[in-house]
């Protein structure tokens, strides 16, 4: 019976650890969110900000909190969650910690789509988001087309994706360079991403789409454990590996396209949030739910820094996520190297 106890305790410790990680992230989000609601051009004490959030207070407070700060806060959380989840799905399905939509060119594809709509078609608003969505989808399809050889091979998918990432950034640079100076400046935000100025309809689309895709992710997540053991083991356990990968990546691409269409490509979030999440859980799993939490936390924190010029200048969110993400990636690679050599 002692073996059974050991088996049960391994499982129980895992659940406890995951619950603890999720709870800590939730606390962090609440603290950051409260902070985000209180600071700004018109600072509010936390008490008043929270009351205004629930509809109590004078009209000015309500306007500042509910109309100005809350949409931005919610956008940051939802976009971060979407990028985190998408990155986790990509990385675990392709069994490559670097296989994130930024590196695979899917995010750059979204930028190209958005900038095309802005500069070439001269349209703004929802059309730009649709362009971003189509751009991300097109690059994903192209990667697919070139990577598929009697099955989906992870390393091939990643290499083809890296190729398209360079292609897309070249096209983007060319479009910005050949555009009118003022138009180019307004298009620039679509190349780094920002959670500012997302309102009403767009936010509703993000919210609804994310709910549907999160449910889809929960369904496809059952393949993650077998797939993590490699194709042969996964097939031996009864998973049709090719279709499992295709369906999972479809969900992931849809998540990236949805989030990028709303806020633009936020650099490194999809790469780093799952990496942090896997560190925190350390169970060899895909850490999907924890990646949702780390992604949301990361983007919210980055946006507080970006919005309030804590770096000395108010910048689009995507610049700060890159600043936070890049050093973390370097640290991750450095320590991983050390660990695998040991």
């Amino acid at each position: 019976m002692t073996t059974l106890t050991a088996v049960q305790s391994v499982r129980a410790r895992r659940s406890r650890r995951r619950a603890a990680v999720l709870a800590s992230l939730a606390v962090l989000v609440v603290v950051l969110a409260t902070f985000a609601l209180t600071i700004g051009a018109a600072p509010l004490p936390p008490g008043r900000a929270l009351l205004a959030l629930f509809g109590v207070g004078d009209a000015g407070d309500l306007f500042i909190v509910q109309r100005l700060r809350l949409p931005r806060l919610v956008t940051a959380l939802l976009a971060g969650a979407a990028f985190g989840l998408a990155g986790a799905l990509f990385q675990s399905t392709l069994r490559n910690p670097l296989a994130s939509p930024d590196i695979l060119g899917i995010a750059s594809g979204a930028s190209v789509g958005a900038v095309t709509v802005l500069l070439v078609l001269g349209m703004t608003g929802m059309a730009v988001s649709v362009g971003a969505f189509l751009g991300a989808g097109t690059i994903a399809l192209l990667i697919w087309f070139f990577a598929w050889r009697q099955g989906l091979h992870s390393i091939r998918f990643v290499l083809v994706g890296v190729g398209f990432a360079y292609l897309a950034s070249s096209v983007l640079a060319w479009m910005l360079a050949s555009a009118d100076q003022r138009d180019a400046a307004s298009a620039l935000v679509w190349t780094v991403g920002s959670v500012a100025d997302v309102r009403g309809a767009e936010l509703a689309v993000l919210c609804g789409g994310l709910a549907v895709l999160a449910l889809a992710a929960a369904v496809v997540s059952r393949w993650q454990h077998p797939l993590a053991l490699g194709d042969d083991h996964a097939r031996g356990l009864g998973v049709a590996t090719d279709s499992a990968r295709v369906v999972t990546l479809l969900v992931a691409v849809a998540l990236v396209a949805l989030a990028t269409a709303t806020v633009g490509p936020l650099a490194f979030v999809a790469l780093v949030a799952p990496a942090i999440a896997r560190r925190l859980t350390d169970d060899g799993g895909a850490a999907l739910s924890v990646s949702v939490g780390t992604g949301a936390t990361l983007v919210l924190a980055a946006d507080i820094v970006a919005q309030h010029g804590l770096l000395g200048v108010a910048a689009p969110t995507g610049i700060v996520t890159g600043l936070v993400g890049a050093p973390y990636l370097l640290w991750l690679l450095a320590t991983h190297e050390r660990r695998s050599r040991a």
């Binding site: 369904v219 059952r222 060899g284």
Partner: protein
């Protein structure tokens, strides 16, 4: 299929799924056939070893039987069931497979990895139940790794790790277990230990064991049924004592060897001759069949 915690208690031979049979099977890579029109029956409840020289198609055959690699023609049956068209998850409840190389995800612990073998028995959201815990416990005990349950797999030795992978396959609770060169990365002590373990599983549970092996002498000792392959075909099969003679070794492996009784088990033992150690007075082989001793 209903799985109960008691399923492991009873030997399966009486209720087993039947013989695993290949009917006119063809398998190839990139359109180049490795195996073409192969018929073979692997007996239920026995240990079968498939041997043959490198690139003879033995691993390819095993991968085809386990549906790790698609067949280009023919079909595979288990008893009267058609394996080829069966849903994969259903197959995974009948046939377990240990592929040639296995890499555990970072940070995963022994009990967790073995628990992954429960996948084919779990529903849409993959909830792990207390019945699953019991099966994991028994699989750990059967493979002698119970005391490692909470250790990270990455910290184990090669021999321990291979036992853990076998425990994972056992947790699938299948009547048939296919293993692709399970002893390859092990030293001789752990090879023997592992084959003893497979022997125990076969005798105690009636599990049909089919393994591809490189080591001829161990194959001859542990197998009830020996299949010798060469260039994509079965050149001989049957009880090791009937199959493994000097002529077969020469024709299948191109190896001049003496076959003598294993002093421990009495099974045929291959002693290679080689270029530098030709026994005095023995004529050089010309490829024609020689009488076995």
């Amino acid at each position: 299929m209903i799985d109960t915690p008691h399923a492991l208690d009873t030997p399966r031979s009486a209720t087993g799924a039947g013989d695993l049979t290949a009917h006119g099977v063809a398998i190839g890579y990139d359109g180049r056939p490795v195996i073409d029109g192969l018929d073979l029956t692997l007996p239920q409840g026995r240990i079968t070893a498939i041997v043959g020289p490198n690139a003879c198609g033995k691993s390819t055959l095993l991968r085809g039987l386990a549906r790790l690699h698609p067949l280009t023609a023919g079909r595979v049956t288990l008893g009267d069931r058609d394996v080829t068209g069966m849903p994969r998850k259903e197959l995974a409840r009948l046939v377990g497979v240990l592929p040639q190389s296995s890499v555990a995800p970072d940070g995963v612990r022994v009990a967790e990895l073995v628990g992954r073998g429960r996948y084919p028995h779990q529903g849409w959201f993959g909830r792990h139940t207390s019945d699953d815990d019991v099966v994991v416990q028994r699989s750990l005990e059967a493979t002698g790794v119970a005391d490692l349950a909470d250790r990270p797999v990455a910290e184990l030795s090669g021999g321990q790790r291979q036992r853990v992978w076998i425990a994972m396959v056992l947790a699938q609770e299948t009547d048939v277990v296919l293993l692709d060169e399970p002893t390859t990365f092990l030293d001789v002590t752990h090879q023997v230990e592992l084959l003893d373990l497979l022997h125990d599983l076969n005798r105690e549970r009636g599990t049909t064991v089919v393994m591809v092996l490189h080591e001829l002498n161990l194959a001859a000792r542990y197998a009830d049924h020996l299949v010798v392959m060469s260039a994509g075909r079965v050149v001989a099969q049957g009880a090791p004592a009937d199959v493994l003679d000097e002529a077969t070794v020469l024709s299948a492996f191109g190896l001049d060897a003496r076959v003598v009784p294993d002093p421990v088990a009495g099974s045929p033992m291959i002693v290679p001759v080689g270029r530098h150690h030709r026994p005095d007075g023995t004529p050089a082989p010309d490829g024609s069949a020689e009488p076995s001793p």
